[in-house]
């Protein structure tokens, strides 16, 4: 069973449509939990011994594992099921959004303009050029990618994202697919209790699902989410208001932030860097350094770097790069994250990697205890499963 969205923009599917979405969510779970476990056993029992016999050593990295696995029949089945499941996510969601497009857009606008919802601005820039890295590819097989608009004042891209990630996550990313935002904002609160951020910026926020938790964790802070795509931001603004969270949304390219120097106490992002070309990652991080106040925190939730992972685990996470239209995934994960932050201008002495459990899946005191104990890096880190551990890195200015 997957949850209905818990805000006013929820667009209930017909019974059979919901059943199809549940099927796809179950299929996703099957491939990412059950088939993934079996594939790893096949690697250990068949592929690795063959490699060791032929090469006289173990694979050095994920690429060598990938080359070896491509001839393993179970890898072919795993990949085919996983690829099809990804396509089916969108095919189970799009007909619902398409049918309800006018009502959805009217409702979203009504919420944004109402006097009865919390404040929160939406600033769009129709002249902003959407980068080709976004327009040229249907990232993670999403038809139309993030940026496409289908009518005037359109929020469809946001609705597709919200509903599709609900199916994609098979209930593992939080009740409102916002566990990352809750986990990271509460990690900061637990780990740095004297830190009281006044202005928080979430870059590449999409629909603000991980931005809203910052407003909840730090209710006195001014929280802003920026993204390149107008449809996501229209939807996100209405969504946040509907959830009672005061968040400002602005259409902006994170590589050229329209803020003065030293503007923010926190610059956060989640699942953002791996969607950027290398030059954009570096440009964004320089901007993050610029707009952070002295003593401010740059923090990002991401996938762990390949240089910290066993060869098989690297291969496993790199699958999206090869087969899920995420071309920047592996080039990002091949980077040295410390080098990224120091090149941007940060002093690497305060560079910190962090692994944390999911905040919304346990009592708050248990989350606190686990954060304070410092969870270890293991094969659950960054792997979408029923026991995922989020990975992040950060640095103080």
């Amino acid at each position: 069973m997957i949850h209905d969205l818990s805000h006013e923009l929820a667009t209930p599917p017909h019974r059979d449509e919901r059943t199809r979405q549940e099927f796809v969510a179950s299929l996703r779970r099957h491939v990412l939990v059950d088939m993934a476990a079996h594939m790893q056993k096949r690697y250990a029992s068949h592929v690795l011994p063959k490699f060791e016999t032929a090469q006289g050593r173990q694979p050095e990295d994920g690429e060598e594992v990938h080359d070896a696995m491509m001839h393993e029949p179970y890898f072919c089945f795993y990949s085919a099921v996983r690829y099809n499941a990804q396509e089916m996510v969108f095919q189970s969601v799009i007909p619902v959004i398409d049918r309800n497009m006018e009502d959805l857009n009217q409702k979203a606008q009504s919420i944004r303009e109402s006097n009865t919802h919390v404040e929160g601005t939406l600033t769009l820039n129709p002249k902003l050029e959407i980068p080709r890295s976004v327009t040229n590819i249907d990232v993670h097989l999403a038809p139309g990618s993030y940026h496409t608009q289908y009518q005037e004042n359109d929020s469809s891209a946001g609705a597709i994202y919200d509903n599709s990630i609900n199916v994609f996550a098979f209930n593992q990313m939080g009740r409102n697919t916002d566990d990352i935002g809750h986990s990271f904002s509460n990690y900061v609160k637990v780990a740095f209790p004297d830190f009281k951020p006044e202005r928080i910026l979430d870059c590449g926020c999409t629909i603000g699902h991980n931005t809203v938790p910052w407003a909840m964790t730090y209710p006195d802070a001014e929280v802003t989410g920026i993204d390149i795509a107008p449809g996501l931001l229209r939807y996100g603004s209405a969504r946040a208001k509907s959830m009672g969270a005061k968040v400002n949304f602005s259409q902006m390219n994170a590589t050229a932030l329209d803020y003065p120097d030293n503007s923010f106490d926190v610059v956060f992002s989640s699942m953002f860097l791996h969607e950027l070309p290398q030059k954009d990652i570096r440009a964004y991080m320089k901007e993050a350094f610029r707009v952070l106040k002295p003593g401010g925190l740059f923090l990002t939730m991401e996938l762990p770097p390949n240089n910290k992972m066993a060869a098989y685990d690297s291969f496993y996470l790199d699958w999206d790069c090869y087969y899920n239209k995420e071309p920047y995934y592996k080039p990002f994960r091949d980077q040295d994250y410390l080098e990224l932050v120091t090149t941007a201008g940060f002093n690497g002495d305060s560079f910190q990697e962090t692994i944390m459990p999911r905040y919304t899946y346990m009592p708050a005191d248990e989350f606190t205890a686990q954060v304070q104990a410092g969870p270890a890096f293991d094969d659950r880190t960054g792997r979408m499963s029923s026991d995922i551990r989020w990975y992040g890195f950060g640095v103080w200015k």
Binding site: R15, D16, T19, R20, F23, V24, L27, C76, F77, S79, A80, V81, Y83, N84, A85, E87, M88, F90, Q91, I94, P95, I97, D98, M101, I137, D138, L141, A142, P143, G144, T148, Y150, Q151, S156, I160, Y322, Y323, K325
Partner: protein, 117 residues
């Protein structure tokens, strides 16, 4: 089904299998499984809705005695379903393998035979 929002992503789909048609076959199997699940769940709900209306569909179905005519009709429907699903494995579309006397196999290309004749 027309849609203003595209249903298909841009770009080619990867090939995971070396055998032609296998990738498409996998897609068909998964889509069909989804359709089967939708039907199964609807039947499940149908029985429960009927139960709430005072009709124990579950018991009625378990105890229903098919007439001869219904048995014959179901036989035909079932046979047609199997034949339809397995249509691509029949007749001229298949390169059959014959077991050679003394062991081994040879491929008997039905098309080649047809052309030779």
């Amino acid at each position: 089904m027309s849609s203003r929002i595209p249903m298909k992503h841009r770009g080619k789909r990867p090939r995971f299998f070396s055998a032609n048609g296998m990738d498409e076959m996998m897609s068909m199997v998964l889509e069909m499984t989804a359709e089967v699940w939708i039907i199964k769940k609807r039947l499940y709900l149908l029985e429960r809705v009927a139960g709430q209306a005072g009709v124990s569909l579950t018991d009625e179905i378990e105890n229903y005695n098919l007439t001869e005519a219904e048995i014959t009709e179901l036989d035909t429907l079932r046979h047609d379903l199997i034949a339809t699903v397995l249509r691509s494995t029949e007749g001229e579309f298949v390169a059959t393998r014959k077991v050679r006397e003394g062991g081994g196999t040879e491929t008997n290309d039905a098309n080649a035979e047809t052309q030779a004749a």
